[in-house]
């Protein structure tokens, strides 16, 4: 690992001052950043440790739940407010990584983690995300783990998070601090598609800091489910994952929330399928139709065509679990 300078920030201004200098990166849990630095994928000159900032809190607000950017994944997943109000988020977090990693990883860090595309990690391979302009090793390579939605010829990597899939489904907002003060951004707009700039994973400015996320109160707690399909039962990234929340009146769906992981460069919200489900009666047939709708525009590559079948099956299954029909 390349040597770097390490400093601690104790307040927001300290972080903003530090990241204003080129070559500086923020470190929180470090579970992804240290890994990337060891492999030479990234080599910052300076790290600013933000763990001394008071941003770990999980608090109920008038309209929802605020979760600080430094709240640990393990703590959020077991927090009583989260378990009661947002079981989908708890389930998604528990489906991610390992207990050790969840004890280190933070909410903000989870959002900022990079893709696990093997071509991104292998510094001997071309990768437009790691080194813009070098090409994409995956597009004609071994692309079993890769995107079926929203990819570009420059990049077909997927965002690896589980937590972010749940937050996208639950209409979360991201609270961001910058030079000009605080701002909010819908979680679904935080991450971006690769287009011509796959080196950019999200819309966070280089001079900005995530302060936390806020999730509005909802009626999905009773009927939600996070389904993760992977190569082994635990501790593996998703081939496909589905976050499903239903607001049910008897068997009538008042409204639905659906998002997928492992299929795109960002958590993939299924707005069309949600619209279709609203007002319908919960049944396997309805769910299958919603899943077919969600698959419109999907495009597979040589080794990930199985996702075209797996994804709709996973959507149907997640909805069945959420509705209590599984």
């Amino acid at each position: 690992m390349k040597q770097f300078q390490y400093t601690r920030a104790v307040n927001q201004q300290g972080v903003l001052d530090a990241i204003a200098k080129p070559g500086t990166k923020i470190i929180a849990g470090g579970t992804n950043l240290v890994d990337l630095m060891k492999r030479g994928v990234t080599a910052p000159d300076k790290l600013v440790d933000i763990n001394y900032l008071p941003l770990k809190g999980i608090t109920a607000t008038k309209t929802g739940l605020h979760i600080g950017t430094l709240a640990l994944n393990s703590v959020v997943s077991e927090n009583s407010l989260v378990v009661a109000k947002l079981p989908l988020l708890s389930m998604a977090l528990k489906a991610g990584a390992s207990p050790q990693l969840r004890n280190m990883a933070t909410v903000g860090g989870n959002m900022m983690q990079r893709t696990r595309c093997t071509y991104f990690y292998d510094t001997t391979m071309p990768c437009n995300k790691r080194e813009p302009g070098t090409g994409c090793g995956a597009v004609e390579g071994y692309n079993r783990m890769h995107a079926i939605f929203g990819a570009s010829p420059q990049c077909i990597a997927v965002h690896p998070s589980d937590m972010c899939v749940a937050l996208a489904a639950l209409d979360a907002q991201v609270i961001i601090a910058g030079k000009k003060g605080e701002k909010r951004m819908p979680f679904v707009d935080f991450h971006r598609l690769p287009d011509d700039h796959p080196e950019l994973d999200n819309h966070l400015g280089k001079d900005e800091l995530i302060l936390g996320v806020e999730i509005p109160d909802n009626n999905f707690a009773k009927n939600s489910y996070y389904l993760k399909v992977r190569d082994r039962q635990s501790y593996a990234f998703a081939l496909v994952s589905v976050a499903a929340g239903l607001d049910l009146d008897g068997s009538t769906i008042r409204s639905a929330r659906l998002a997928m992981g492992g299929v795109a460069h960002k958590p993939w919200r299924l707005f069309e399928a949600e619209k279709f489900l609203a007002g319908k009666t919960a049944s396997e047939d309805t769910f299958k139709q919603a899943a077919q709708l969600a698959m419109q525009g999907a495009k597979a590559y040589e080794y990930n065509a199985f996702k075209l079948k797996l994804a709709p099956a996973a959507i149907t299954e997640a909805l069945k679990h959420a509705a209590g029909l599984a």
């Binding site: 579970t31 300076k46 207990p99 050790q100």
Partner: protein, 214 residues
């Protein structure tokens, strides 16, 4: 990963290269300014002493407690807790497997919580309490989890065992050892290539059912 060969030798550090007597005195004053407790680490950060240290030195002061013993060290910021334990302190009980957070062989407890020491920068555990496999036994009396691993043959080659045991203790303390399924899920961060999993689960279940405070 840095190894012994690549480590800077005393002669080739900028610290020495550009140091005059005046520089040396300035740096000594800086080092003295950085107190050794977490509270003073915060004070140091507030006064930007941190920043001056980072610019002036390749190594930074690290104060931590390992298995009940206080240590004050100078470490490169890039040194992981795992490398500091094994290379600087000769505590080789904690194992280096993948060194990338994928196998769990390096699992230790920091302030009572299990973490991967290979992905933990040592400098970031300043002021914290670390427990390693060497800290579980009380003298010659093995920890109940160590006894259970022996009794149930919870290993074959033994390389993953320190990490498995540290994780197993945490698994029970966290309240995640209530069924075989739950144990398997909450031990998934520890890979055993010999496949001793059934015996590891048995060992954990026995300690859990024994109800001892661990």
């Amino acid at each position: 990963m840095e190894n012994k060969k690549n480590r800077p030798k005393p002669g080739d550090q900028t610290e020495v290269k550009d140091s005059s007597r005046r520089e040396f005195l300035k740096k000594s004053a800086l080092i003295t300014a950085v107190a050794l407790t977490p509270a003073s680490a915060v004070v140091a950060a507030e006064k930007h002493v941190d920043e001056r240290i980072a610019e002036a030195f390749e190594k930074m002061p690290l104060h931590l407690e390992i298995n009940g013993v206080a240590h004050s060290l100078m470490v490169e910021p890039r040194s992981t807790l795992l490398d500091i334990l094994r290379e600087q302190l000769d505590m080789t009980g904690t194992k280096k497997g993948c060194d990338l957070g994928q196998c769990g062989a390096c699992t230790v407890h920091v302030d009572g919580h299990r973490v991967n020491s290979c992905l933990t920068l040592g400098i970031m555990v300043n002021g914290k309490k670390v427990t390693t496999i060497e800290g579980l036994a009380k003298g010659d009396q093995l920890h109940p989890m160590q006894e259970a691993f022996l009794k149930h043959d919870g290993f074959q080659c033994g390389y993953c065992t320190p990490g498995q045991i540290m994780s197993a203790v945490a698994c029970i303390r966290e309240g995640h050892a209530n069924s075989e399924l739950e144990i398997r899920e909450f031990m998934s961060g520890n890979i055993c290539r010999c496949g001793a999993y059934p015996n590891i689960v048995n060992a954990i279940q026995e300690v859990k059912e024994g109800g001892m405070a661990i």
